[in-house]
Symmetry: C2
Subunit: 250 residues, 2 copies
Protein backbone atom coordinates (compact mmCIF):
# COMPACT_ATOMS: atom_id res chain seq x y z
CA UNK A 1 0.00 0.00 0.00
CA UNK A 2 1.78 3.03 1.25
CA UNK A 3 5.06 1.18 1.14
CA UNK A 4 7.33 1.68 -1.81
CA UNK A 5 7.65 -1.07 -4.36
CA UNK A 6 11.34 -1.66 -3.79
CA UNK A 7 10.71 -2.07 -0.06
CA UNK A 8 8.13 -4.76 -0.77
CA UNK A 9 10.55 -6.62 -2.97
CA UNK A 10 13.34 -6.27 -0.42
CA UNK A 11 11.11 -7.46 2.41
CA UNK A 12 10.02 -10.54 0.48
CA UNK A 13 13.62 -11.46 -0.30
CA UNK A 14 14.67 -10.73 3.28
CA UNK A 15 12.03 -13.09 4.61
CA UNK A 16 13.11 -15.75 2.14
CA UNK A 17 16.68 -15.44 3.41
CA UNK A 18 15.74 -15.34 7.08
CA UNK A 19 13.34 -18.22 6.57
CA UNK A 20 16.01 -20.34 4.92
CA UNK A 21 14.34 -20.68 1.52
CA UNK A 22 17.37 -18.91 0.11
CA UNK A 23 20.21 -20.72 1.90
CA UNK A 24 23.43 -19.01 2.91
CA UNK A 25 25.94 -19.46 0.11
CA UNK A 26 23.13 -19.92 -2.41
CA UNK A 27 22.30 -17.59 -5.26
CA UNK A 28 19.66 -14.91 -5.40
CA UNK A 29 17.30 -14.76 -8.38
CA UNK A 30 18.79 -12.66 -11.18
CA UNK A 31 17.64 -9.10 -11.68
CA UNK A 32 15.73 -10.01 -14.82
CA UNK A 33 13.95 -12.84 -12.99
CA UNK A 34 12.89 -10.41 -10.28
CA UNK A 35 11.79 -7.86 -12.89
CA UNK A 36 9.52 -10.45 -14.47
CA UNK A 37 8.19 -11.77 -11.20
CA UNK A 38 7.34 -8.32 -9.83
CA UNK A 39 6.61 -6.50 -13.06
CA UNK A 40 9.05 -3.82 -12.01
CA UNK A 41 11.81 -2.02 -13.83
CA UNK A 42 15.42 -2.90 -13.34
CA UNK A 43 16.10 0.26 -11.34
CA UNK A 44 13.50 -0.66 -8.78
CA UNK A 45 14.78 -4.22 -8.46
CA UNK A 46 18.32 -2.95 -8.06
CA UNK A 47 17.17 -0.56 -5.34
CA UNK A 48 15.74 -3.52 -3.46
CA UNK A 49 18.81 -5.74 -3.65
CA UNK A 50 21.09 -2.78 -2.89
CA UNK A 51 19.20 -2.41 0.38
CA UNK A 52 19.83 -6.03 1.27
CA UNK A 53 23.46 -5.49 0.38
CA UNK A 54 23.74 -2.60 2.81
CA UNK A 55 22.27 -4.85 5.48
CA UNK A 56 24.99 -7.38 4.90
CA UNK A 57 22.56 -10.10 3.78
CA UNK A 58 23.75 -10.45 0.19
CA UNK A 59 26.92 -9.72 -1.73
CA UNK A 60 27.51 -9.15 -5.43
CA UNK A 61 30.24 -9.10 -8.04
CA UNK A 62 29.92 -7.97 -11.61
CA UNK A 63 29.01 -10.80 -13.92
CA UNK A 64 28.02 -13.34 -11.29
CA UNK A 65 24.74 -13.85 -9.54
CA UNK A 66 24.28 -12.30 -6.11
CA UNK A 67 24.92 -14.67 -3.23
CA UNK A 68 23.37 -14.91 0.20
CA UNK A 69 25.99 -14.02 2.81
CA UNK A 70 24.18 -14.34 6.09
CA UNK A 71 20.80 -15.00 7.58
CA UNK A 72 21.42 -12.84 10.57
CA UNK A 73 18.82 -10.32 11.51
CA UNK A 74 20.05 -6.74 11.44
CA UNK A 75 18.07 -4.36 13.55
CA UNK A 76 16.43 -1.18 12.45
CA UNK A 77 17.84 2.18 13.35
CA UNK A 78 15.36 2.82 16.12
CA UNK A 79 16.35 -0.45 17.74
CA UNK A 80 19.99 0.51 17.74
CA UNK A 81 19.30 3.83 19.43
CA UNK A 82 16.66 2.50 21.77
CA UNK A 83 17.38 -0.39 24.08
CA UNK A 84 13.69 -0.89 24.74
CA UNK A 85 12.69 -1.14 21.10
CA UNK A 86 15.47 -3.58 20.44
CA UNK A 87 14.53 -5.83 23.33
CA UNK A 88 10.85 -5.70 22.51
CA UNK A 89 11.64 -6.83 18.98
CA UNK A 90 13.15 -9.96 20.50
CA UNK A 91 10.25 -10.60 22.83
CA UNK A 92 12.22 -9.83 25.96
CA UNK A 93 10.73 -8.08 28.95
CA UNK A 94 12.35 -4.72 29.59
CA UNK A 95 12.02 -2.86 32.83
CA UNK A 96 13.92 0.11 34.09
CA UNK A 97 14.42 2.33 37.06
CA UNK A 98 15.47 5.96 37.10
CA UNK A 99 18.01 6.46 39.88
CA UNK A 100 18.68 10.12 39.32
CA UNK A 101 17.27 12.96 37.27
CA UNK A 102 18.53 16.49 37.58
CA UNK A 103 19.59 19.56 35.67
CA UNK A 104 23.26 20.39 35.93
CA UNK A 105 26.07 21.88 33.81
CA UNK A 106 27.42 19.62 31.06
CA UNK A 107 30.69 17.83 31.65
CA UNK A 108 33.39 18.38 29.01
CA UNK A 109 32.61 15.03 27.39
CA UNK A 110 28.87 15.65 27.29
CA UNK A 111 29.42 19.14 25.91
CA UNK A 112 31.57 17.78 23.12
CA UNK A 113 29.11 15.03 22.31
CA UNK A 114 26.16 17.41 22.21
CA UNK A 115 28.10 20.10 20.42
CA UNK A 116 27.45 22.79 23.05
CA UNK A 117 29.85 24.88 25.10
CA UNK A 118 31.08 23.39 28.34
CA UNK A 119 28.92 24.18 31.33
CA UNK A 120 25.68 24.59 29.36
CA UNK A 121 22.80 23.20 31.37
CA UNK A 122 21.69 19.69 30.44
CA UNK A 123 19.25 17.20 31.92
CA UNK A 124 21.14 14.30 33.41
CA UNK A 125 19.39 10.93 33.82
CA UNK A 126 20.83 7.77 35.35
CA UNK A 127 18.92 4.56 34.66
CA UNK A 128 19.33 0.83 35.17
CA UNK A 129 17.74 -1.35 32.51
CA UNK A 130 16.72 -4.93 33.16
CA UNK A 131 16.31 -7.68 30.63
CA UNK A 132 13.91 -10.36 31.82
CA UNK A 133 14.35 -8.99 35.31
CA UNK A 134 18.13 -9.08 35.34
CA UNK A 135 20.14 -5.83 35.50
CA UNK A 136 21.85 -5.64 32.12
CA UNK A 137 22.70 -2.08 31.25
CA UNK A 138 23.55 1.14 33.01
CA UNK A 139 22.65 4.29 31.15
CA UNK A 140 23.94 7.79 31.85
CA UNK A 141 22.27 10.26 29.54
CA UNK A 142 22.57 14.01 29.07
CA UNK A 143 19.63 15.58 27.20
CA UNK A 144 20.09 18.89 25.40
CA UNK A 145 18.32 21.82 27.05
CA UNK A 146 15.77 22.18 24.26
CA UNK A 147 14.63 18.59 24.75
CA UNK A 148 14.78 18.60 28.55
CA UNK A 149 11.21 19.81 29.30
CA UNK A 150 9.74 17.05 27.18
CA UNK A 151 11.80 14.47 29.04
CA UNK A 152 10.87 15.86 32.46
CA UNK A 153 7.20 15.60 31.55
CA UNK A 154 7.49 11.83 31.19
CA UNK A 155 6.52 9.37 33.89
CA UNK A 156 9.27 8.06 36.14
CA UNK A 157 8.66 4.47 35.11
CA UNK A 158 8.67 5.24 31.40
CA UNK A 159 10.03 2.17 29.61
CA UNK A 160 11.29 3.86 26.47
CA UNK A 161 12.14 7.54 26.64
CA UNK A 162 12.91 7.84 22.93
CA UNK A 163 9.58 6.19 22.11
CA UNK A 164 7.65 8.54 24.34
CA UNK A 165 9.47 11.61 23.06
CA UNK A 166 8.53 10.69 19.52
CA UNK A 167 4.89 10.12 20.41
CA UNK A 168 4.27 12.96 22.83
CA UNK A 169 6.68 15.70 21.83
CA UNK A 170 7.37 14.98 18.18
CA UNK A 171 11.08 14.66 18.89
CA UNK A 172 12.28 11.91 16.59
CA UNK A 173 15.81 10.55 16.46
CA UNK A 174 16.94 10.30 12.89
CA UNK A 175 20.72 9.98 12.98
CA UNK A 176 23.17 8.49 15.45
CA UNK A 177 26.89 8.23 16.02
CA UNK A 178 28.33 5.53 18.24
CA UNK A 179 31.63 4.80 19.94
CA UNK A 180 32.23 1.34 21.32
CA UNK A 181 34.96 0.24 23.71
CA UNK A 182 35.56 -1.69 26.92
CA UNK A 183 35.99 -0.27 30.40
CA UNK A 184 36.37 -1.67 33.90
CA UNK A 185 33.37 -1.45 36.17
CA UNK A 186 33.73 1.32 38.70
CA UNK A 187 32.27 1.11 42.20
CA UNK A 188 28.87 2.46 41.19
CA UNK A 189 28.76 0.38 38.01
CA UNK A 190 29.54 -2.76 39.98
CA UNK A 191 26.93 -2.12 42.66
CA UNK A 192 24.13 -1.30 40.27
CA UNK A 193 24.80 -4.09 37.79
CA UNK A 194 25.55 -6.70 40.41
CA UNK A 195 29.06 -7.52 39.22
CA UNK A 196 32.48 -7.31 40.82
CA UNK A 197 34.46 -4.08 40.69
CA UNK A 198 36.82 -4.13 37.73
CA UNK A 199 34.67 -6.48 35.67
CA UNK A 200 34.92 -5.77 31.95
CA UNK A 201 31.95 -3.78 30.67
CA UNK A 202 31.05 -3.17 27.03
CA UNK A 203 30.55 0.56 26.66
CA UNK A 204 28.52 2.27 23.93
CA UNK A 205 28.66 6.03 23.90
CA UNK A 206 26.32 7.63 21.43
CA UNK A 207 24.67 10.84 20.35
CA UNK A 208 21.19 10.93 18.78
CA UNK A 209 20.17 13.70 16.42
CA UNK A 210 16.82 14.83 15.03
CA UNK A 211 16.08 15.35 11.33
CA UNK A 212 17.68 18.76 11.36
CA UNK A 213 20.91 17.38 12.80
CA UNK A 214 20.36 18.88 16.26
CA UNK A 215 21.76 16.74 19.06
CA UNK A 216 19.01 15.36 21.30
CA UNK A 217 21.03 13.33 23.77
CA UNK A 218 24.51 12.10 24.59
CA UNK A 219 24.61 8.80 26.40
CA UNK A 220 27.13 6.49 28.04
CA UNK A 221 25.68 2.96 28.19
CA UNK A 222 27.49 0.10 29.92
CA UNK A 223 26.52 -3.53 29.40
CA UNK A 224 27.10 -6.32 31.85
CA UNK A 225 29.74 -8.80 30.65
CA UNK A 226 28.30 -11.62 28.57
CA UNK A 227 24.91 -10.03 28.18
CA UNK A 228 25.06 -8.22 24.87
CA UNK A 229 27.28 -8.40 21.79
CA UNK A 230 27.36 -5.97 18.91
CA UNK A 231 27.37 -7.46 15.45
CA UNK A 232 28.00 -6.03 12.02
CA UNK A 233 28.71 -7.12 8.47
CA UNK A 234 30.67 -5.41 5.78
CA UNK A 235 31.64 -5.91 2.18
CA UNK A 236 34.26 -4.43 -0.10
CA UNK A 237 31.94 -1.58 -0.99
CA UNK A 238 30.44 -0.87 2.41
CA UNK A 239 32.33 -0.40 5.64
CA UNK A 240 29.93 0.63 8.35
CA UNK A 241 32.40 0.44 11.18
CA UNK A 242 35.66 2.16 11.86
CA UNK A 243 38.29 2.13 14.54
CA UNK A 244 39.55 5.01 16.62
CA UNK A 245 42.65 5.42 18.68
CA UNK A 246 41.98 6.36 22.26
CA UNK A 247 39.62 9.27 22.11
CA UNK A 248 41.21 11.02 19.20
CA UNK A 249 39.05 11.37 16.13
CA UNK A 250 40.84 9.89 13.17
Amino acid sequence: MGTARYLEIAETLRQAILGGELPVGGRLPSESALMTRWGASRGTVRQAVALLGSEGLVGSRQGARRIVLSRERRHSFAELNSFAQWARGLGLAVTGRILARSRRPATPEEAEGLGVTEGTEVLYVLRVRNLDGEPTMLERTAYAAWAAPAVEALAEDCVSIMDSLARDAGIVAQYGEHLIDAVAAGGMDARLLGVRRGSPLLRQRHVSRDQGGRAIEWSDDRYRPGSVTFSTSNSATAAPLGRRIGDRAV
Copy 2:
Protein backbone atom coordinates in the same frame (compact mmCIF):
# COMPACT_ATOMS: atom_id res chain seq x y z
CA MET B 1 39.74 7.61 -15.80
CA GLY B 2 38.95 4.09 -14.86
CA THR B 3 36.90 5.30 -11.93
CA ALA B 4 33.17 5.56 -12.27
CA ARG B 5 31.60 8.97 -12.56
CA TYR B 6 29.54 8.68 -9.39
CA LEU B 7 32.65 7.76 -7.43
CA GLU B 8 34.39 10.91 -8.66
CA ILE B 9 31.46 13.04 -7.58
CA ALA B 10 31.27 11.31 -4.22
CA GLU B 11 35.01 11.67 -3.63
CA THR B 12 34.90 15.40 -4.39
CA LEU B 13 32.02 15.94 -2.00
CA ARG B 14 33.70 13.76 0.63
CA GLN B 15 36.84 15.84 0.46
CA ALA B 16 34.80 19.02 0.73
CA ILE B 17 33.18 17.68 3.89
CA LEU B 18 36.40 16.35 5.41
CA GLY B 19 38.17 19.59 4.49
CA GLY B 20 35.52 21.69 6.16
CA GLU B 21 34.34 23.54 3.06
CA LEU B 22 30.96 21.97 3.68
CA PRO B 23 30.54 22.49 7.42
CA VAL B 24 28.74 20.03 9.68
CA GLY B 25 25.12 21.08 9.92
CA GLY B 26 25.37 22.90 6.59
CA ARG B 27 23.54 21.99 3.41
CA LEU B 28 24.82 20.00 0.47
CA PRO B 29 24.32 21.39 -3.05
CA SER B 30 20.99 20.27 -4.46
CA GLU B 31 20.83 17.41 -6.93
CA SER B 32 20.12 19.72 -9.82
CA ALA B 33 23.09 21.91 -8.90
CA LEU B 34 25.34 18.86 -8.92
CA MET B 35 23.84 17.70 -12.24
CA THR B 36 24.73 21.04 -13.82
CA ARG B 37 28.18 21.23 -12.29
CA TRP B 38 29.14 17.72 -13.34
CA GLY B 39 27.08 17.40 -16.50
CA ALA B 40 25.69 14.15 -15.14
CA SER B 41 22.21 12.72 -15.00
CA ARG B 42 20.18 12.75 -11.82
CA GLY B 43 20.59 9.02 -11.32
CA THR B 44 24.36 9.31 -11.27
CA VAL B 45 24.29 12.21 -8.83
CA ARG B 46 21.91 10.33 -6.55
CA GLN B 47 24.22 7.32 -6.62
CA ALA B 48 27.03 9.55 -5.39
CA VAL B 49 25.14 11.14 -2.51
CA ALA B 50 23.62 7.78 -1.56
CA LEU B 51 27.16 6.51 -1.06
CA LEU B 52 27.94 9.40 1.29
CA GLY B 53 24.71 8.64 3.11
CA SER B 54 25.75 5.05 3.67
CA GLU B 55 29.03 6.33 5.11
CA GLY B 56 27.15 8.42 7.62
CA LEU B 57 28.48 11.70 6.26
CA VAL B 58 25.21 13.19 5.05
CA GLY B 59 21.54 12.74 5.83
CA SER B 60 18.44 13.51 3.83
CA ARG B 61 14.69 14.00 4.17
CA GLN B 62 12.22 14.32 1.37
CA GLY B 63 11.66 17.91 0.39
CA ALA B 64 14.62 19.42 2.20
CA ARG B 65 18.22 19.77 1.13
CA ARG B 66 20.69 17.16 2.32
CA ILE B 67 22.67 18.13 5.38
CA VAL B 68 26.20 17.32 6.47
CA LEU B 69 26.10 15.10 9.55
CA SER B 70 29.71 14.44 10.38
CA ARG B 71 33.22 15.02 9.16
CA GLU B 72 34.54 11.85 10.61
CA ARG B 73 36.59 9.57 8.46
CA ARG B 74 35.11 6.12 7.98
CA HIS B 75 37.55 3.44 7.01
CA SER B 76 37.39 1.21 4.02
CA PHE B 77 36.48 -2.43 4.25
CA ALA B 78 40.02 -3.65 3.88
CA GLU B 79 41.05 -1.49 6.82
CA LEU B 80 38.36 -2.99 9.01
CA ASN B 81 39.47 -6.52 8.28
CA SER B 82 43.17 -5.74 8.32
CA PHE B 83 44.74 -4.13 11.34
CA ALA B 84 47.88 -3.30 9.36
CA GLN B 85 46.07 -1.51 6.55
CA TRP B 86 44.07 0.50 9.02
CA ALA B 87 47.10 1.60 11.00
CA ARG B 88 49.09 2.42 7.89
CA GLY B 89 46.28 4.67 6.72
CA LEU B 90 46.76 6.67 9.90
CA GLY B 91 50.52 6.85 9.56
CA LEU B 92 51.20 4.59 12.53
CA ALA B 93 54.04 2.11 12.62
CA VAL B 94 52.81 -1.48 12.84
CA THR B 95 54.99 -4.35 13.86
CA GLY B 96 54.06 -7.85 14.82
CA ARG B 97 55.41 -11.09 16.12
CA ILE B 98 54.11 -14.58 15.48
CA LEU B 99 54.19 -16.51 18.75
CA ALA B 100 52.74 -19.75 17.47
CA ARG B 101 51.82 -21.30 14.15
CA SER B 102 50.57 -24.85 13.87
CA ARG B 103 47.99 -27.10 12.26
CA ARG B 104 45.47 -28.55 14.64
CA PRO B 105 41.79 -29.55 14.75
CA ALA B 106 39.31 -26.68 14.89
CA THR B 107 37.73 -25.82 18.22
CA PRO B 108 33.92 -25.76 18.27
CA GLU B 109 33.90 -21.96 18.04
CA GLU B 110 36.33 -21.88 15.13
CA ALA B 111 34.41 -24.61 13.35
CA GLU B 112 31.18 -22.65 13.67
CA GLY B 113 32.81 -19.43 12.51
CA LEU B 114 34.40 -21.07 9.49
CA GLY B 115 31.35 -23.17 8.73
CA VAL B 116 33.19 -26.49 8.84
CA THR B 117 32.60 -29.58 10.95
CA GLU B 118 34.23 -29.68 14.36
CA GLY B 119 37.71 -31.16 14.35
CA THR B 120 38.53 -30.26 10.75
CA GLU B 121 42.16 -29.28 10.48
CA VAL B 122 42.87 -25.54 10.50
CA LEU B 123 46.00 -23.44 10.64
CA TYR B 124 46.20 -21.68 13.99
CA VAL B 125 48.27 -18.51 14.31
CA LEU B 126 48.84 -16.44 17.45
CA ARG B 127 50.23 -12.95 16.94
CA VAL B 128 50.92 -9.82 18.96
CA ARG B 129 50.53 -6.56 17.07
CA ASN B 130 52.29 -3.38 18.14
CA LEU B 131 51.25 0.16 17.37
CA ASP B 132 54.22 2.53 17.44
CA GLY B 133 56.11 -0.11 19.36
CA GLU B 134 53.49 -0.69 22.03
CA PRO B 135 51.66 -4.03 22.29
CA THR B 136 48.08 -3.19 21.35
CA MET B 137 46.29 -6.25 20.05
CA LEU B 138 46.40 -9.97 20.48
CA GLU B 139 45.21 -11.98 17.51
CA ARG B 140 44.23 -15.66 17.49
CA THR B 141 43.39 -16.73 13.96
CA ALA B 142 42.24 -20.01 12.45
CA TYR B 143 42.74 -20.23 8.69
CA ALA B 144 40.62 -22.61 6.63
CA ALA B 145 42.50 -25.61 5.27
CA TRP B 146 42.30 -24.45 1.66
CA ALA B 147 44.03 -21.17 2.55
CA ALA B 148 46.57 -22.65 4.97
CA PRO B 149 49.36 -23.45 2.46
CA ALA B 150 49.38 -19.87 1.20
CA VAL B 151 49.66 -18.59 4.78
CA GLU B 152 52.45 -21.00 5.66
CA ALA B 153 54.41 -19.80 2.64
CA LEU B 154 54.58 -16.29 4.07
CA ALA B 155 57.56 -14.94 5.99
CA GLU B 156 57.42 -15.08 9.79
CA ASP B 157 57.72 -11.31 10.10
CA CYS B 158 55.00 -10.59 7.57
CA VAL B 159 53.31 -7.34 8.61
CA SER B 160 49.96 -7.90 6.93
CA ILE B 161 48.89 -11.44 6.20
CA MET B 162 45.71 -10.42 4.37
CA ASP B 163 47.73 -8.04 2.18
CA SER B 164 50.25 -10.71 1.30
CA LEU B 165 47.59 -13.30 0.61
CA ALA B 166 45.91 -10.96 -1.86
CA ARG B 167 49.18 -10.16 -3.63
CA ASP B 168 50.83 -13.58 -3.68
CA ALA B 169 47.99 -16.08 -3.65
CA GLY B 170 45.09 -14.15 -5.11
CA ILE B 171 43.04 -14.75 -1.96
CA VAL B 172 41.06 -11.56 -1.47
CA ALA B 173 38.72 -10.88 1.43
CA GLN B 174 35.49 -9.49 0.15
CA TYR B 175 32.98 -9.86 2.96
CA GLY B 176 33.24 -9.88 6.73
CA GLU B 177 31.09 -10.46 9.76
CA HIS B 178 32.04 -9.10 13.15
CA LEU B 179 31.04 -9.65 16.76
CA ILE B 180 32.16 -7.13 19.33
CA ASP B 181 32.10 -7.49 23.09
CA ALA B 182 34.23 -7.06 26.21
CA VAL B 183 36.13 -9.76 28.08
CA ALA B 184 38.51 -9.88 31.01
CA ALA B 185 42.17 -10.47 30.21
CA GLY B 186 43.23 -14.01 30.94
CA GLY B 187 46.69 -14.92 32.14
CA MET B 188 48.15 -15.19 28.65
CA ASP B 189 46.35 -12.07 27.43
CA ALA B 190 47.71 -10.10 30.37
CA ARG B 191 51.28 -11.26 29.95
CA LEU B 192 51.44 -10.62 26.23
CA LEU B 193 49.71 -7.26 26.26
CA GLY B 194 51.44 -6.01 29.36
CA VAL B 195 48.30 -5.40 31.40
CA ARG B 196 46.99 -6.78 34.68
CA ARG B 197 44.97 -9.98 34.74
CA GLY B 198 41.29 -9.19 34.59
CA SER B 199 41.74 -5.90 32.73
CA PRO B 200 38.85 -5.17 30.37
CA LEU B 201 39.71 -6.00 26.77
CA LEU B 202 37.71 -5.02 23.71
CA ARG B 203 37.18 -8.19 21.71
CA GLN B 204 36.41 -8.36 17.99
CA ARG B 205 35.67 -11.81 16.61
CA HIS B 206 35.32 -11.91 12.88
CA VAL B 207 35.21 -14.14 9.85
CA SER B 208 36.53 -13.04 6.45
CA ARG B 209 35.14 -14.47 3.23
CA ASP B 210 36.31 -14.39 -0.36
CA GLN B 211 34.19 -13.33 -3.32
CA GLY B 212 32.51 -16.72 -3.49
CA GLY B 213 31.48 -16.56 0.16
CA ARG B 214 34.04 -19.16 1.28
CA ALA B 215 35.37 -18.52 4.79
CA ILE B 216 39.07 -17.65 4.75
CA GLU B 217 39.72 -17.11 8.43
CA TRP B 218 38.07 -16.88 11.82
CA SER B 219 39.80 -14.59 14.25
CA ASP B 220 39.56 -13.54 17.89
CA ASP B 221 41.26 -10.15 18.32
CA ARG B 222 41.66 -8.51 21.73
CA TYR B 223 42.58 -4.86 22.13
CA ARG B 224 44.34 -3.33 25.09
CA PRO B 225 42.06 -1.07 27.12
CA GLY B 226 42.08 2.53 25.95
CA SER B 227 43.92 1.79 22.73
CA VAL B 228 41.22 1.40 20.12
CA THR B 229 37.56 2.37 19.87
CA PHE B 230 35.08 1.24 17.26
CA SER B 231 32.93 3.93 15.73
CA THR B 232 29.86 3.85 13.53
CA SER B 233 27.09 6.10 12.29
CA ASN B 234 23.55 5.24 11.40
CA SER B 235 20.43 6.91 10.11
CA ALA B 236 16.78 6.02 9.94
CA THR B 237 17.30 4.11 6.73
CA ALA B 238 20.59 2.40 7.52
CA ALA B 239 21.49 0.45 10.64
CA PRO B 240 24.91 -1.11 10.19
CA LEU B 241 25.15 -2.45 13.69
CA GLY B 242 23.05 -4.85 15.70
CA ARG B 243 23.07 -6.26 19.18
CA ARG B 244 23.16 -9.88 20.22
CA ILE B 245 22.35 -11.55 23.47
CA GLY B 246 25.16 -13.64 24.82
CA ASP B 247 26.25 -15.87 21.98
CA ARG B 248 22.82 -16.62 20.68
CA ALA B 249 22.12 -15.41 17.18
CA VAL B 250 19.04 -13.21 17.25
